[in-house]
Amino acid sequence: MSTNVFRRLLFDEKSRSLIVQAFVIGIFAVFIYLLVQQTATNLDKRGISSGFDFLSMSAGYDISIRLIPFTSEDTHLRAYFVGLLNTLMIAICGCFLATILGFVVGVIRLSSNWLFRNIAYVYVEFTRNVPVLLQIVLYYSILLHLPKIKQAIVLFEGFYLTNRGLYSPLPIIKDGFSIVLASFVIAIILSIFIKKNLKRKQEQTGKQYPIFLINSALIIFTPIIFYYIMGMPIEFEIPVLKGFNFKGGMVIRPEFIGMLLGLSIYTAAFISETVRSGIISVSKGQREASQALGLKSNLVMRLIVIPQALRVIIPPLTSQYLNLTKNSSLGIAIGYADLVHGFGGISLNQTGRAIEIMLMVMLTYLTISLIISLFMNIYNKSVQFKGNA
């Protein structure tokens, strides 16, 4: 009897494949277990300490590029967060710039102007076929050859460009600024209401209103008016050359600018191709039909072509965002203090905990990538066909 059951299980295609799969997973689990076990014993045998206790020890080094305060007495854990924030900063700024540049270039590549079209073509072919690391190093080297600190270029009053970065005045907030901020938020909420209202009116009457113009004016001018009413509650701290460096003000370091240029110019080339393919994918008939209805060419683009193109653009765009984020780990090449450079480099060397630190860094990148994917998938759903079309 029991052999029969076993036979049936073995010769039934469904159960057999299940058994085989379970078996393979089992072997894989054992393999991973043995690998971890072996690593642990080997570390132990060679007298190399392991564990995460180093996170609460003081780091002992300084980081200049940082979004939160950090001194050499802070812990390695805080160094991790400083690096994480720097990674996020370059990823967000890079994705933003790459998207704008990519859309512009993608549209230009379809333009009827021969010169513009071919300039865009050369740009795309050049940047996407040269390794991004070389481009980053190139831009950084160029930035290093900007004037030295004593010969800084004055862009405007208080704005200085040197090979140590772009110095600018630092806004210092005084009392009453919260009211300006509140007016800004209220203006945004108000503009959403206006938009809804005018849209409804348009649907009812067919009359079009300059919604965009009205709302931009509202959002821009309300806080400005309140800014003057409250007696200009922002003061600017101007950077002044004192001793070796400019004191006061804000500075954007050349390491950051180099990374931003390298990553966004490189990724924008890929995005532009995605955008181009998206626009081409919208059938010619759609365009002709909308023109026949009497829509102006910019409205054809905005209302007919782009919404349909987005369906094609978003999935590959997501993977470009992921690429850019992962490529930001190249900051190490020019000393941009991202996660890999600071925590994954300096802390690793001070403590020697290579496995622990690399695991943490890898898991962090994994988490960031999954979050980007999640949001892009949500956005993707919102631009896909709706209903039963």
Partner: protein, 341 residues
């Protein structure tokens, strides 16, 4: 089923192999002898300490330690393969057994000696962290560096020393971290930073490569103790002894006045320590598992410590470093090797 079977077998094989690689470090000396050469972790390029010359041959006082070990083991100082390692991977490369010894201006510290599973066997250069600035800045002391931008090589003890020094003196600075020596040179000469800090030896070495070395000054302050020395893996004392005494043999050679040109002559010396060192009195090589002429080979082929120093970094080279702390104890330095007996 055969597919699965073969998968299983190959899995077992992979496991077996990885276990063998990970677990089976025999005696390093046996491994080295079998291989026929010493694997030496060297600097990626630090003139005078470890760098390939115009002909592509590695030279420098760190390199000479590796050559001495090869001379001791094989009687041939050229049986070395150099593996250039960055500050970041040097310890991992040594721990994993890819190299037999690390001779790469590495500072001997407690945590490295104990926590990282290494064994430092001696000091071949007493160094300290210093500062270099362009002469045009008119700075004469490190205490005048408040607010400066400082170029610094990452992954070294220098970062902690720098942070401590500026904190202790109530000064602020902007750190400009760079990955390698050459990147530091590029950033410093471009004016990205006012100051370049690393071990003084490294500063002298870098300066020698600049278009106009006299336009840069190394400030008098030395802010740390940096005993640089060769390191081996922890747990193989036999191999550690060989490296330790190869270095000691060079130092003792200088003490006893034995140079690469007078080894044969000195074999007729009346000084019993000279006779022991040169293997005329047999038995000392065997204690290390080597032939009796091991130290004679080192001194003939590599030379004594002074010869190595003068040839690579001394005042007559572009690096231009005085003996200073690195003179023998009897000449006012702190170089001191235990007696050879």
């Amino acid at each position: 089923m055969t597919k699965i079977k073969s998968l299983f077998v190959s899995l077992l094989l992979t496991l077996g192999i990885s276990t063998a690689i990970a677990g089976g470090h025999g005696s390093t000396l046996d491994v080295v002898k079998e291989r026929g050469k010493v694997m030496c972790g060297s600097n990626t390029g630090l003139a005078g300490f470890g760098a390939p010359n115009d002909a592509g041959v590695w030279e420098g006082i760190d390199v000479d330690v590796c050559r001495a070990v090869a001379a001791a083991v094989f009687g041939d100082a050229s049986k070395v393969e150099y593996v250039p390692v960055t500050t970041k991977v040097r310890f991992t490369v040594l721990q994993s057994g890819e190299i037999d010894l690390l001779a790469r201006n590495t500072t001997w510290t407690l945590s490295r000696d104990v926590d990282l599973g290494l064994e430092f066997v001696g000091v071949n250069y007493y160094d300290g962290q210093g500062f270099m600035v362009p002469a045009s800045l008119g700075v004469s002391s490190a205490t005048e560096l408040d607010g400066a931008s400082v170029c610094i090589q990452v992954g070294t003890t220098t970062e902690m020393n720098l942070a401590d020094y500026f904190k202790a003196n109530g000064m602020s600075y902007e750190s400009v971290p760079v990955e390698t020596n050459s990147e530091a040179d590029a950033a410093y000469t471009a004016g990205r930073c006012d100051v370049y800090t690393t071990d003084a030896s490294g500063l002298y070495s870098s300066r020698a490569g600049y278009p106009d070395p006299s336009a840069h000054v190394v400030l008098p302050e030395i802010i740390s103790k940096e005993p640089l020395g060769p390191a081996v893996r922890h747990g193989d004392s036999e191999w550690a002894d060989i490296v330790r005494w190869s270095l000691n043999a060079m130092i003792i050679g200088e003490e006893l006045g034995i140079t690469s040109s007078n080894v044969e002559e000195m074999k007729g010396s009346k000084n019993p320590e000279v006779l022991r060192l040169l293997g005329v009195e047999a038995g000392y090589g065997a204690m290390l598992g080597l032939s009796d002429d091991w130290a004679a080979n080192i001194l003939t082929q590599v030379g004594n410590y002074s010869e190595s120093f003068e040839k690579h970094i001394g005042p007559n080279t572009p690096i231009n470093i005085q003996r200073g702390l690195n003179a023998l104890y009897k000449d006012g330095g702190i170089l001191y090797a235990p007696p050879f007996r």
